[in-house]
């Protein structure tokens, strides 16, 4: 057993070990505090970005060669706080590399800026997260429910929503 190997959980250790990584280099240049936290686990790099700088971070990595937004989704860490983790998966066609951005969002104000201005592909994904988790995306051109009926109450993928629904 054992395919990939070492895990680095500590921000400074990851930044030191991957200093020549294109995304990390570009983000550190943007601002030294742009990366709040970093994790390297099972060959995947996760960078935690401050909620207010997600658009700037996306533009920065897009300019650094990470041209393709693959996926936007959310994880509900209820009852822990901050409750929601928005995960962005970004791919580089030229570098053959993936990175993941994580943005942590508090339950009291579940909102984050929409990145549809950077990648229009985020449109449906953000609508899905809005529909199923109730996280709002500021500046989204068409923030409506996408899966559930328009008049539906509740957000089914939240952890405090029972699997069998409310009866």
């Amino acid at each position: 057993m054992g395919l990939v190997t070492e895990t680095q959980e500590n921000r400074d250790a990851v930044l030191a070990a991957h200093a020549d990584h294109r995304a990390i280099a570009a983000l550190t240049q943007l601002s030294p505090g742009a990366i709040q936290n970093a994790k390297y686990d099972r060959g995947e790099l996760t960078l935690t970005i401050a909620r207010e700088s997600i658009i700037a971070a996306c533009r920065t990595v897009q300019a650094a060669g990470y041209n393709f937004l693959v996926d936007v989704t959310c994880v509900d860490w209820y009852p822990n706080q901050p409750r929601f983790q928005i995960s962005y998966h970004i791919l580089s066609h030229s570098l053959h590399q993936r990175i993941r951005f994580a943005v942590l969002v508090e339950e009291g104000d579940p909102s984050v800026d929409s990145i549809t201005g950077v990648w229009p592909a985020a449109n449906f994904y953000e609508r899905e997260v809005f529909d199923l988790f109730g996280v709002r995306f500021g500046g989204h051109p068409n923030l409506r429910r996408i899966m559930m009926p328009e008049d539906y109450q509740g957000n089914p993928l939240r952890k405090d929503f029972p699997v069998e629904g409310y009866r």
């Binding site: 395919l3 060959g43 559930m148 328009e150 699997v163």
Partner: protein
Amino acid sequence: MGNLMTAPIAVDSSEDRTMILNMGPQHPSTHGVLRLVLEIDGEVVVRVSPDIGFLHTGIEKTCEAKFYQQVVPLTDRLDYCSPMHNNLCYCLAVEKLLQLEIPERAQWMRVLLAELTRLNSHLIWLGTHAMDIGALTVFLYCFREREQILRLFDDLAGQRMMMSYIRIGGLALEPPLDFFPRVRAFLKTMPEKIDEYENLLTGNPIFINRLKGVGLLSKEDAISLGVTGPPLRASGVDWDLRRDMPYSSYEKFQFKVPVSTGCDVWSRYVLRVQEMRESVKIATQAVDGMPGGPIKADAPKIVLPDREVMKTQMEALIHHFKIVTEGFGVPAGEVYQAIESSRGEMGYYVVSDGTAKPYRVHMRNPTFATLQSIEKMCVGRLIADVVAAIGSIDIVLGEIDR
């Protein structure tokens, strides 16, 4: 599921020229339950707004209540035209979480099955796409060959569709003895059959006129809208996960990745037909070079033991009981694993909190993102071209709505 009044852009009623037309969710060319709200001016499309969610069954939520191994049959139900790709992608993701190494034979079998699935899925696409355009005969020809693939799957897994044959740690069963000769015989006839389809379609002036220059999608738009798979490659982006980020030992196979710069429905048609030929080549290489050895990883706490072993060994019986009743714990962490499915990049994002049930499973489905490009493809074109454009995306609503 949105009513007309909440459609995204307000209709400009001042000129009173446009009208709203509902296409679907029961229109035959929408391949399931896609509803398109078309705003049309005469027969020209002014605006397209896809309305999805009719098939939403909450699979992502259901996954959170199941053990890891119980999620495999749910994944079949997403993209029901290529169930093995879903099995494969989910299993690869969980194996990555577990850091589990898979025996070579199982990896090669997975490649073989993935390519047969791709052929199966492309045959459905070709048949229905041609039927949408009006070429009814091709549909019957395609389903004749598809039936052969389904029979192979039936022999292999006991199911024609929804096989759930790829499992965490390997495969469900050793394939039956006559499986490889039968696959080889099928693959031998397949190139001729593809010639046969091409005879019916590729030189057909009606078919060409309906597809050429229709549904244009530029390279820049394709990338910014998250389009993957054949539509991306038909827009001139040379990107195939099988070659560029190989998984399940795809790096050991020789194959070409067809790319076209036509950007239209026609080039997507030509490209998918070429892909079918490449799939035959990959599958043939897999059958010819199939290594021996076990088809399951040596991990008794994760992989179910063989029935025979269970009857003679106490530990095997205990492990079986434990896995079935309690599942197996997966170390905490999050992974994203992507494969090249028939429709593009299929990805599974699995988050574990260390227990026997996944904390979160998210499927990144190719056509969900590709559907966003329908507006770019259709605006300013005729309604009939919308049908061609939908066919060229090759949508499966099961994976879009989840």
